[in-house]
Amino acid sequence: MLAKRIIPCLDVDAGRVVKGIRFVDIRDAGDPVEMAAVYDREGADELTFLDITASWEQRETTYDIVRRTAEQVFIPLTVGGGVRAVDDVRRLLRAGADKVAINTAAVRDPEMLLDATLAFGSQCIVIAIDARVRNGSWEVVKDLGAGEVLLTSMDRDGTKDGYDLALTRAVCDAVPVPVIASGGAGVPAHFTEAMTDGGADAALAASVFHFGEMRISEVKAECARAGLSMR
């Protein structure tokens, strides 16, 4: 049976992990490559790097860390943030990314998403949607050919109140591709809810893992206890 996935996300700025990471046994908690290896050992099913580098010149560092991570960590790596052109996608894939997340809000021309899926296949294009409740409803998700949806609830992000289950369920029911829930994880049970009540195929979290509040192994054990198929 296909396993549900637990995905840690690292925010990377100019080649360094931001949001302090509190882990024992780490030489350099700011090094995304070393953190990726730690999460791999902890049982992460995939890794996501979110590039928040503001300056264009420093974005070269992102390609470098993707290259170095792909040399050492043999689980899937998704890279998102700042992807605006088909050539950005090409460079990230060539550097060693398996999937590239493209944020709809960041793309001026939605056709670019289609171009990217045609050029590289839908399986490596993740459409990232930052959803916010407006007047009690959500904006419609347009089918742009991506192979997966990374759904972040802006209302829940950072709150630790749990994933937005109604939003997650609505999107899972609306799209034919797998959905990764994001935003709001605070306790292991939240991951279980996202994938049972929310119907998500995977759940992503950042700070709760970085700060050592939860271990990936602990979250996966909780999900397995709840009857979910886990690796």
Partner: protein, 199 residues
């Protein structure tokens, strides 16, 4: 040391494949040509079947000749699909090394099939030597092969349908999943291939 050529035909992430093969002790050359002096040929590939065939171009004949000569071949994802006759995904024809077609998952489950799924290998499958039955490997695909000869099926997985996820016949081995992204299990499988190629 086993010298492996990873064929670069501009279809996806080759770097991980090369690094994973190096990790299990192979000497790897990423090349746009089939190197007749290498010990083994690995053909990875992501994307669409049609673009894969078009990008391979004349190299498809080199791949066929390599296989016909009994040289060790490992196909990954599209590198497996392209061995078959045809695919529902495109008009272009495959290499017909294996008889059979590549078909799309039926309506029902989420497609692409993305994630870690259990793999049941057949007794004696060399790629799976020492790998437990039901070990999980990482998949990303919307199409799967249906071999005409059940004898080439090395392993199956289950996603709404039971499907062939690895094929083997003499010198030809191939997986639908990505061993280079399947952690320790994937490295063990690649190591089995490199060992078989060294013989």
């Amino acid at each position: 040391m086993t010298n492996v050529t990873v064929l670069d035909f501009e279809m996806g992430n080759l770097r991980s494949v090369a690094k994973a093969l190096e990790k299990v002790g192979a000497s790897v050359d990423v090349s746009a040509e089939v190197d007749r002096n290498a010990d083994a040929l690995v053909v990875p590939g992501q994307g669409a079947f049609g673009s894969c065939v078009l990008n391979l171009g004349a190299r498809m004949d080199d791949v066929r000749a390599w296989i016909a000569d009994g040289r060790p071949y490992l196909g990954i994802c599209l590198g497996l699909q392209v061995l078959f006759d045809s695919s529902e995904e495109s008009e272009e024809k495959g290499a017909s090394v294996f008889a059979g077609d590549v078909v799309r998952f039926p309506a029902g489950p989420k497609v692409p099939h993305i994630g870690w799924n259990e793999v049941s290998s057949r007794a004696g499958a060399r790629l799976f030597d020492g790998i437990d039955l039901g070990t999980r490997f990482y998949f990303v695909h919307s199409y799967y092969p249906v071999p005409a000869d059940a004898g080439v099926v090395a392993a199956t997985s289950d996603y709404a349908v039971e499907f062939c996820c690895a094929a083997e016949r003499e010198n030809v081995m191939a997986t639908q999943f990505h061993p280079e992204k399947s952690g320790d299990a994937g490295l063990a499988l690649l190591s089995n291939f490199v060992r078989a190629a060294a013989r």
